[in-house]
Symmetry: C2
Subunit: 193 residues, 2 copies
Amino acid sequence: MWKRITAKTEGVYIADTEQFVTKKMDKLRAEYGGFPGDLHFGLTKKAGAREPMYQRGTEIFNRRQISIVSMEECDDIAEAMGISHIFPEWLGANIAISGFSALTSLKEGNRIIFPSGASLLCEGENDPCIQPGEVIQSFYPDQPKLAAAFVRHAIGRRGIVCIVERPGDICTGDPVDIHSYEPKRVKKKIEKV
Amino acid sequence: MWKRITAKTEGVYIADTEQFVTKKMDKLRAEYGGFPGDLHFGLTKKAGAREPMYQRGTEIFNRRQISIVSMEECDDIAEAMGISHIFPEWLGANIAISGFSALTSLKEGNRIIFPSGASLLCEGENDPCIQPGEVIQSFYPDQPKLAAAFVRHAIGRRGIVCIVERPGDICTGDPVDIHSYEPKRVKKKIEKV
């Protein structure tokens, strides 16, 4: 029922200014709500474009506390866009992992667990928006239309968002266990004729 | 991208004793963490059998704050088990809805919104366990092996668990809007030969 996959934490990152772009750290402590001091930290957040069922600015629970990308998927997006590389920082990522290239297809309800015991609960795919595309564009001024190209090429590869299920430290270089769950399926009765 | 389905709140229920079985109320207020006073209320909970990646009793975030069943799926389980009916209370449900028979297949990340503005975030299927089966058995003493039969027949029909995304009142009789999201798919390039 539960399958375990091992990957590596390539970096932990924080956005501790008004800037969307994150910066790489050696270690961060995940608390309920995310990484304290990070732009996306909080048990609640204000509803925005990703939550069209609420009036913009409505206080809602924050299911986008921490975002994770995979190095392999970043490389795939860069290749598809015809640029040499995309850094996790540019995407505002809080964590980058390597060794699990199918990160974006990780389902809601799966867990990402670190050696300290810190654990993140997957809340699903992070649909690409224009903002990181504009950051990428700023680093490749000679290549036009990269912002829109990012949105197009990052679908299904832009990583996931998580909530903190168990607090603890997360360090650059940490091994990480991904616990993936496959629910039971209803067995259909075969009619006897 | 977002699809809206309308259904009806058949009842709101609370487990305000040590008992797993819930009781029907006219109105309950959903706060962050669930229904205050309910057995499953809390922003955190102790890890149990459903979270095998943690040592039992570890404090973790509570993603099982509120459970919802559909009246149609309760009837389907009862029919498959050869009994006349299953009440939502017996399953420890906090909310029962009618008019949306595919409730259990509602995906994580979908929203269930009530007229007060109260909103629940789907955290996925509630896999059946033996406990409600034993409750059902106690109401049908003449029919043997109902507890295990429940676990078998309730797979894919036992409803969902939710977290509170926005606090507010939920009333028996309320209409309810289900906001269901279909993510974009990656378009595969067709190779020209």
